[in-house]
């Protein structure tokens, strides 16, 4: 199907997402409007004030309250969104689990930034990687365009009757959020048609059909079964995420999968990466390919649920896989993505080697040379007869 290409705009990542939210025009946005927030909330508040959207904008006194208000609003029966980042995300922590266990189809933008301390406001993935077990679906975008696209697709995924789980979508703090880059937008009519009308399930405001939300479920209750049901919804989300992406592709011409492989088919060494660093990595893959090195890459787009079968399929023929984590799991064998990938490849025969790389914590820049170094390590491991050490490798780390 032919798609006419809309004009290209020069916007920041935050502007791109605020525009997506404006086109979704949710019933309610609850957000904490000051530091450590991002520009997304400020821009959205402006749209509300200018009458560009019909959203009820609820300002609250903390991020904990923001997520609590989001839960109240969504349980009441409203399409509800919010945005956060870094410490704000951390402060939402306990209520994130509540939103997921109430099966509230909320969509939250999270700009990936470091957690204190030392105090640091720059990009890394520590905030949402730490939130990977809250029961939310996690989509990680690469650039301005995908941040916009994921925000819109998130609504369809969250609200699908096979899923009914909250969705958080991420993009890199500053690298994307504050940088000017290209964006092509759909029309508001297209977005409205894509997300469709909101369907509330057992809304509290339906007074003719009273329901109880959030009661105590004691020792002899159904807590365990409830958790299993959440996990089943995660399993069903794979198909829903892909279907939403496919339908969105017809609208936009932009195709997304659960993961995003690049020159992987005959690759002997490959890097797995999340977020904007995928772009830089692709450039290095091309450079190595020109030299005859069989290098490839795969970007993680969906981290929860984690598409382990697809990753095993994509990487099983690769000799050595390097996993680049922009967050660490202290005392674990490697970063969060490393552990998922290594686990996903366990049943492959022969089993690829998987090596952990940590990079970019607290906004430490990641240069093309650093990625080339990582590939050089993979090449060396692929050449050697024994298996390489699985100790962490650090990219662009200063010497002591």
């Amino acid at each position: 199907m032919a798609v006419t290409q809309p004009e290209i705009l020069a916007v920041t990542g935050n502007e791109a997402v605020a525009e997506a939210m404006g086109q979704i025009d949710p019933d309610v946005v609850c957000a904490y409007p000051i530091t450590p927030q991002t520009e997304v909330v400020q821009l959205y508040a402006q749209m509300v004030a200018d009458g560009r959207v019909s959203t009820e904008f609820v300002t609250v006194e903390s991020e904990h309250s923001a997520m609590s208000a989001v839960i109240g609003s969504a349980a009441g029966g409203a399409r509800t969104m919010t945005a956060t980042s870094s410490q704000g995300f951390a402060l939402m922590w306990e209520v994130l689990f509540v939103a997921a266990s109430y099966r509230l189809p909320v969509v939250m933008t999270t700009v990936n930034r470091a957690l204190s301390g030392p105090i640091n406001i720059h990009c890394d993935h520590s905030d949402t990687m730490g939130g990977r077990d809250t029961g939310w679906i996690q989509l990680y975008g690469e650039n301005h365009q995908e941040a916009y696209d994921n925000c819109i697709q998130g609504v369809r995924i969250a609200e699908h009757m096979d899923v009914r789980l909250p969705v958080m979508h991420m993009y890199d703090g500053y690298v994307i959020s504050g940088a000017i880059g290209p964006l092509q937008m759909l029309t508001k009519e297209q977005v409205q048609a894509f997300v469709g009308p909101y369907r509330a399930v057992n809304p509290m405001l339906d007074t003719k059909n009273p329901v109880t939300v959030g009661p105590f479920d004691g020792l002899h209750g159904w807590y365990f079964e409830h958790k299993v049901a959440q996990n089943r919804a995660m399993d069903r989300a794979f198909k829903v995420i892909q279907d939403a992406a496919d339908e969105y592709a017809e609208l936009s011409g932009r195709r997304y999968g659960l993961l995003d492989p690049y020159r992987l088919d005959d690759a002997e060494i490959a890097i797995v990466v999340v977020g904007s660093t995928a772009g830089t990595t692709r450039m290095i893959v091309d450079k190595l390919r020109d030299r005859g090195v069989k290098a490839g890459m795969v970007r993680v787009r969906v981290f929860r649920p984690f598409p382990h079968e697809e990753f095993a399929q994509a990487l099983q023929h690769v000799k050595v896989v390097g996993v680049m984590d922009r967050a660490d799991s202290f005392g674990a064998q490697g970063g969060p993505v490393f552990m998922e990938i290594r686990s996903a490849l366990y049943d492959c025969d022969p089993r690829p080697q998987v090596l952990p790389f940590i990079y970019g914590l607290g906004g430490r820049d990641i240069f093309p040379d650093n990625i080339e170094q990582a590939f050089a390590e993979l090449e060396e491991a692929a050449r050697s007869k024994g298996r390489a050490s699985t100790g962490r490798r650090y990219l662009n780390l200063r010497k002591d």
Binding site: A10, H122, N143, D172, G178, I180, P182, G363, F367
Partner: protein, 202 residues
């Protein structure tokens, strides 16, 4: 080949231009970096513009980057080897190594009342191709404020040939016209065209 003035010329896709901006908080370096990205968009090119984030303090040294390319830009890191360095405040020349990582044939545009030869003598500068323009004076005389960013874009337009000056003027009239009163728009256009004329080569 490495010389004392610069590092080896780095291989970059020929269509990619990387600009590094050095200024002080309040001089509009980030705005200028973004303006050049928007001008690139107007030329049908791909673009990226971003500051090196840090505390926002008026007067503190800041760095910003612009990339302009004929092909989509994939790289997401700070510019290490800028072909063009723009210095909005000459006092930075004695406290920041503004040409760090720049290839030997890099262009360095400095906001200064001095000629490039005088600037070299005064700061002991070697290598690279220096250009100067009295951007702060031009800004005061045209925009009535000592913010040198738009004049620097005018000078940059002349020495790089990235965009035709007529397109820059048309863009300002259109884009600034939406945000600012006509007096401000015309002041900025005068600033850009004057610095386009007055920039000095070696």
């Amino acid at each position: 080949m490495t010389t004392k003035s610069g590092t080896q010329k780095v291989e970059a896709p020929p269509a990619l231009t990387e600009i590094r901006w050095h200024g002080r908080g309040g001089q509009g370096a980030v705005t200028a970096a973004k303006l050049v990205a928007e001008l690139a968009l107007g030329q049908g090119k791909f673009f990226q513009a971003f500051p090196e984030y840090g505390p926002e303090r008026s007067g503190a040294p800041i760095v910003a980057f612009t990339r302009v390319s004929d092909a989509p830009i994939q790289v997401y890191s700070g510019v290490e080897h800028p072909q063009i360095v723009v210095v909005l405040d000459p006092s930075l020349l004695s406290i920041v190594n503004v040409t760090a990582g720049a290839p030997d044939d890099a262009i360095v545009l400095v906001n200064s009342e001095m000629s490039p030869a005088e600037l070299r003598r005064h700061y002991g500068l070697e290598g690279f191709a220096y250009y100067t323009v009295a951007a702060t004076r031009i800004a005061v005389e045209t925009i009535k404020r000592p913010i040198p960013n738009t004049p620097m874009v005018g000078a940059l337009t002349r020495i790089t040939g990235l965009f035709p000056i007529d397109d820059v003027v048309a863009f300002l009239r259109e884009d600034f016209g939406k945000k600012f009163p006509p007096k401000v728009v015309e002041g900025n256009i005068a600033a850009i065209t004057r610095s386009y004329e007055e920039v000095q080569a070696e």
